[in-house]
């Protein structure tokens, strides 16, 4: 898969993650009830781990996904490296929060698990983008075929 395609998929996933984080943030600020199939969302979102130095974790998630979306739009090596750092860092923090949910809070929030899955996919794509073969450019549509193919076409 080319870097452009990996970036497109990453951008869609980052938007999905941002949507979930925005929903959690909106519910938190409005006091509305969370849609929750696991029954643990309110407990997790109301726990002391739902904030980090006074900032809701959902807001950090929204900022993280916004950064990953922006980095997915930018081609080139610096953006690729930054994307991998943010995605893998988020994956590590997400794993920590999952452990906290299971081992400390004793409840699991389905929305947190959903963002963990999105983050895992984003981290995998970020690692794929680091592979040298993903850096090759696709031949643009309508461009001339490569020299060797052109020679064969001429017979």
């Amino acid at each position: 898969m080319t870097d452009a395609r990996l970036r497109s998929v990453s951008a869609i996933l980052a938007l999905t993650g941002a949507g979930i984080a925005a929903y959690l943030l909106q519910v938190r600020s409005s006091g509305a009830t969370l849609l929750c199939a696991t029954g643990g969302c309110e407990t997790v979102q109301g726990s002391r781990y739902a904030e980090l130095a006074g900032i809701p974790v959902a807001a950090l998630g929204l900022a993280g996904f916004a950064a990953l979306f922006t980095l997915a739009l930018v081609p080139g090596e610096p953006a690729r490296l930054a994307n991998a750092v943010v995605a893998l860092g988020a994956l590590g923090f997400g794993a920590y929060l999952l452990v906290i949910q299971v081992a400390v809070i004793g409840a699991v929030c389905q929305w947190c698990v959903a963002t963990d899955l999105v983050t895992t996919a984003l981290a995998a794509l970020a690692v794929l983008r680091l592979r040298p073969e993903s850096h090759r450019r696709e031949t643009p549509r309508g461009a001339h075929p490569p020299r060797r193919a052109r020679a064969a076409w001429r017979g």
Binding site: T43, L81, L88, G89, A90, F93, P132
Partner: protein, 225 residues
């Protein structure tokens, strides 16, 4: 070069994740130890209380609150909205509020709500509820201590030891069961939840749009018209 890139990425990710984890643990730890001493509140001074209810029994509108005393949203609502409701509607005899305490968050919820219900025997439940919200610690950290109950009870003019003893009586168990049954019957799925309607009439579960007074006052005004 590829190996160097990998090292840069892994080191950067590790630093980022470690920073977030450390900040989270520090923040949670501070929340765990920062249970403030309760400050006396005169919110309900001079307002008639009767068991689980506060306000004039003949008030035209009744609001029922379903809450867990450990729930942060409940505490936030109590701080942001309750004073406005008491001043503008309860004191003026237009609104009566009934408290249904739930204890789904854990042992500290149970201990606090039992003390609050026990205080309803002396018509001081709302003073206890207000005191617990204003002293709220992190869930099940043991923040509902006997000392805390004693302090809040003393401010309400009650005896903490007596409240703790009464909290284990069978009528308190029955009151908790009634609150749970009422919550299930009303379709309550989270806290805080509210039912609103004409006193003695059919109450409707409210879809709360905000933790601020504006989340309820337009609905109350409609009923008062």
């Amino acid at each position: 070069m590829t190996q160097l890139r990998l090292i840069i990425v892994l080191a950067g990710a590790a630093v980022l994740a470690a920073t977030l984890v450390a900040a989270s643990l520090l923040s949670a730890g501070e929340a765990n130890t920062s249970t403030p001493a309760p400050a006396a509140s005169d919110l309900f001074a001079g307002v008639p209380q009767d068991g689980l209810a506060v306000g004039d029994p003949d008030a035209p509108v009744t609001l029922v609150e379903y809450a867990d005393l450990q729930c942060p949203y409940c505490a936030e609502w109590a701080v942001r909205t309750m004073p406005a409701l008491v001043e503008d509607y309860v004191r003026t005899g237009q609104l009566r509020i009934v408290f249904h305490g739930l204890a789904f968050l854990g042992p500290d919820s149970d201990k606090a709500v039992r003390a609050a219900i026990a205080a309803s025997a002396g018509d001081r439940l709302w003073n206890m509820v207000d005191g617990f919200y204003r002293s709220q610690g992190s869930e099940n950290s043991g923040w509902v201590t006997d000392d805390l109950i004693g302090q809040i009870a003393a401010q309400a003019g009650l005896d903490g030891g007596e409240l703790r003893d009464r909290g284990d009586e069978s009528w308190v168990d029955e009151e908790l069961s009634r609150a749970n049954a009422a919550a299930q019957s009303a379709g309550v799925q989270g806290t805080p939840s509210f039912e609103l309607g004409p006193t003695g009439g059919k109450l409707e579960l409210v879809e709360l749009s905000s933790l601020d007074p504006e989340g309820l006052t337009p609905l109350i005004d409609d009923l008062l018209e």
